[in-house]
């Protein structure tokens, strides 16, 4: 008898390859779980009507003797900002109306080539703007560990699907922590790959110099499997790069910790858990080394200039003319004003206003130009740090999952959630969040490891050492 709740991609694949498990049985298990839990947790916006059909097709291919690839028959949830041909995609926004994807995102194409099962599309903060999945036009998602709390965001539906046993894996996107922070809040693994490692073709752009697609999964091994499946240069995303993987170096590793950056605002339980994790790493033979990254304290300010600037530009395409919902006015200008004013949610409108401000004449130099300067400084500090350490460790988030509604009235409080994750996107380096234990109240905590560009293998190696503790 298979215990489905403990399955990983790796374990399920072995069973499928040995013909001891069918994709249909596995997919039915998750569809039943969704039917049971989704009304309470609001994780899925849609379960695809052809999910079982996809599973049957995978099973038929296996029966016909086709090679069983590692994702063949594996049910995967897709964040609602990633396009699948013929399926609705809304970015959890009203402005997209009944938009249907007209092509497959490259990551979706890669999953389909392996005959993975795309089980459904999951909730998120609207246009990936938020840290709690409360900014969805379709209502908040709740944390499966404690439904009075948020699952994190913006990929909160992806993390909740995996943590709530409603999918074996999920795709998310990460602009400033949107994969790692929800993974930490829900007690699962989340990987933000190197900028350029995974094609964004078919991902609705938020901040193009920061966005990456990555997996949310149950184990570090599964993160490695998903990364291998998704990575690679894509001519359709000119920022994507051929993998130039850093030679996978055998441990033990030198783990850098920017203690000066971990000061104020850190929850005491998060701090104690992080220190315990460092002791575990030492016990495994790794060395912990204090490093100083003095520009990191500016990263959140830098991010909240660059991200809204890019987002306000990217979202200009939503105008009620080419696709999505049209709210008519007396003339074309009013069509734009109404479609955007009513179609975008409050946080999106706020960020468009902020982005417009920092890009406007007279403020461009003080904000946008300066932020780009500071961004270069941050990237240079990481580069220098990686001359003496293999990876850098911090908590993933300054607190465990917070109560629904507790930060919605103060956007700045919500933004401070991103303090440890944002610098990674600014530098374009990869990072992983791995579960590191729980608070006394049973809330999951995560540790974040950061590596040099294309150093994902280092993240998997050290991630396994924390995971198997």
């Amino acid at each position: 008898m298979i215990d489905f709740s403990t399955l990983t991609i790796k374990a399920a694949h072995e069973l499928i390859a040995k013909r001891e498990l069918t994709s249909r049985a596995l997919t039915e298990y998750y569809i039943n779980a969704i039917a049971e839990k989704n009304a309470d947790l609001n994780v899925y916006l849609e379960v695809f009507s052809d999910a079982l059909g996809q599973a049957d097709a995978a099973d038929a291919a296996i029966a016909a003797g086709e090679p069983v690839m590692v994702l063949t028959g594996i049910p995967i949830a897709i964040k609602d900002n990633i396009l699948i041909k013929g399926k609705k995609a809304s970015s959890a926004s009203k402005i997209l109306g009944n938009y249907v994807g007209t092509y497959d995102a490259t990551v979706v194409k890669k999953l389909k080539e392996q005959k993975a099962v795309l089980i459904g599309r999951v909730n998120m903060d609207e246009f990936a703007m938020g840290g709690s999945t409360e900014n969805s036009a379709f209502g908040p998602t709740k944390n499966p560990v404690d439904p009075t709390r948020v699952p994190g965001g913006s990929s909160g539906g992806s993390a909740a699907a995996v943590a709530g046993d409603m999918a074996l894996a999920a795709l998310g996107s990460d602009t400033g922590g949107s994969i790692r922070q929800p993974a930490s809040f829900c007690g699962v693994v989340g990987l933000k790959p190197t900028y350029g490692a995974v094609s964004r073709y078919g991902l609705m752009a938020m901040a193009s110099s920061l966005d990456q697609i990555g997996p949310i999964v149950k184990s570090v091994d599964d993160a490695e499997i998903m990364f291998a499946a998704l990575a690679g240069r894509d001519p359709l995303d000119s920022t994507s790069l051929a993998s130039s993987a850093v030679a996978s170096k055998a441990g033990p590793y030198v783990v850098g910790v920017p203690f000066d950056f971990l000061g104020e605002g850190l929850d005491p339980e998060v701090k104690a858990n992080f220190e315990a994790s460092l002791e575990k790493l030492k016990a495994k033979g790794h060395t912990v080394k204090e490093i100083s990254l003095p520009a990191l304290k500016y990263s959140l300010a830098c991010y909240y200039v660059l991200m809204p600037a890019e987002a306000s530009t990217n979202l200009a395409r939503f105008d009620g003319v080419r696709y999505g919902a049209l709210k008519e006015g007396a003339n074309l200008l009013e069509d734009y004003l109404n479609s955007r004013g009513q179609g975008f949610g409050r946080e999106v409108r706020r960020r468009i206003m902020l982005g417009t401000y920092v890009l406007s004449a007279g403020y461009y130099d003080a904000y946008y130009h300066k932020a780009n300067d500071v961004r270069r400084l941050i990237a240079a500090e990481y580069r220098k740090a990686f001359e003496t350490v293999d990876v850098i460790a911090t908590p993933t988030a300054p607190s465990p999952a917070f109560k629904l509604g507790s930060k919605t009235s103060d956007p700045l409080q919500m933004y401070l959630e991103d303090i440890f994750t944002v610098p990674v996107n600014l530098a374009g380096v990869p990072a992983i969040s791995v579960p590191s234990g729980k608070t006394a109240a049973g809330l999951p905590l995560g540790i974040q490891f950061t590596a040099p560009h294309f150093g994902e293998q280092l993240l998997f190696a050290i991630g396994r050492d924390i995971e198997h503790n």
């Binding site: 830098c302 409108r349 206003m353 700045l412």
Partner: protein
């Protein structure tokens, strides 16, 4: 300080119709966020070089696909269309809703 006129200008540039209540709320939010990001002015002057120099990505200037093969699928998403065109309100001639 952001004046009500500043907020109106930003909303107009961003093509957003905002209620009066939201304008007041957003002015307060922007003040608070801009106050926070203003700490950037304390950061050292940028001397750091671009770590990863950008490179141009070129492709052949040819037709990526046969003309018209995606037209119907894309136009099917438009809120208003007329034949092979997107339909919008008239913008010349005094804004008549033609």
């Amino acid at each position: 300080m952001l004046t009500p006129q500043d907020i109106d200008n930003l909303a107009a540039l961003g093509r957003l119709a905002l209620s009066e209540d939201e304008k007041t709320a957003i002015a307060k939010d922007l003040e608070s966020i801009l106050g926070y990001v203003s700490e950037l002015s304390n950061a050292p002057a940028g001397q750091a070089a671009d770590v990863y120099a950008s490179t141009n990505v070129m492709r052949e200037d040819g037709a990526p696909h046969e003309a018209g093969v995606h037209t119907e699928a894309l136009l099917a998403e438009a809120p208003k269309r007329e034949g092979g065109y997107l339909k919008v309100k008239q913008i010349l001639g005094g804004g008549d809703n033609a």
